[in-house]
Amino acid sequence: MIAMISYDGTCCIGLNVDPDVISDLEVFETCLREDSTKYSTCVRRSGRP
């Protein structure tokens, strides 16, 4: 699930990813950043229930 909320001039995008489906999330995050060089920050958190 990829969702976006705009807040005070920034598009805040949150992704909920299945780690079995996208196993190398670091590569995917690089893809996200590269797609727009203007993507400014990228913070990751992870966990399992």
Binding site: M1, C12, E29, E34
Partner: protein, 208 residues
């Protein structure tokens, strides 16, 4: 009933539209994104300046939502190319705004639509144009907001049946995207300035 012919014609039109809305999009799920237990999760937060998305949307004649979806597709195209598994189309679930000029200010109405998305298209401008065209077509479907109509009946079903229905409608997609209107000005919580608002929604076909 004053005009049974017109009512029957409307019902037929709605029925045909409902079939189109419920038919899975004409795209195979990505071989790279198959499998998964559905239980683990990783959360990623990402910032994009709103001005950049607005500029991209304006340049291609689309909305901010179209530009957001085009960016998501661009990331998945790079990911597939990195793994040597390029694909042309990918089934994704997207929000379609149903808001009209009659809606009150601040009102927000969205319906979900499933889309064979042009993930292989390298030009972001072309991706935005294709997304725009799909959204305009989807919005014109009489049955696009059918969940609003059946929601009162759904609420009477057992929870297990609702989960089964919802999972069945979303597990044909590789990605589910959503867009929630936010705030154009900073807000404060207990005196502290809120620095960001990040939506982390449920995945397609996954259990809550």
């Amino acid at each position: 009933m004053r005009n049974p012919g017109a009512v029957a014609s409307d019902a037929l039109r709605f029925g045909r539209s409902l079939r189109r809305v419920l038919t899975p999009p004409p795209a195979e799920r990505s071989p790279l994104l198959r499998g998964g237990s559905g239980f683990g999760y990783r959360l990623v937060l990402h910032d994009v300046p709103l001005g950049d998305l607005k500029a991209a949307a304006k340049a291609a004649g689309g909305s901010v939502n179209d530009a957001f979806l085009a960016g998501v597709l661009g990331a998945f195209r790079r990911y597939h190319e990195h793994h040597g598994v390029p694909i042309d189309l990918m089934p994704i679930g997207i929000p379609v705004s149903l808001r009209t000029s009659d809606d009150p200010m601040g009102g927000n109405r969205f319906a979900g639509a499933r889309f064979a998305a042009p993930v292989g298209e390298a030009d972001p401008r072309t991706r935005i144009e294709i997304i725009r065209e799909f959204v305009i077509t989807a919005r014109a479907e009489p049955a696009i907001g059918f969940l609003d109509l059946v929601a009162p009946a759904l609420s009477r079903l057992p929870t297990a049946a609702i989960i089964e229905l919802a999972a069945g409608m979303t597990n044909v997609s590789d990605v589910q995207a959503s867009n929630i209107p936010g705030l154009g000005h900073p807000v404060y919580l207990a005196g502290a300035r809120v620095t960001g608002l990040y939506p982390l929604g449920p995945r397609p076909g996954s259990l809550p």
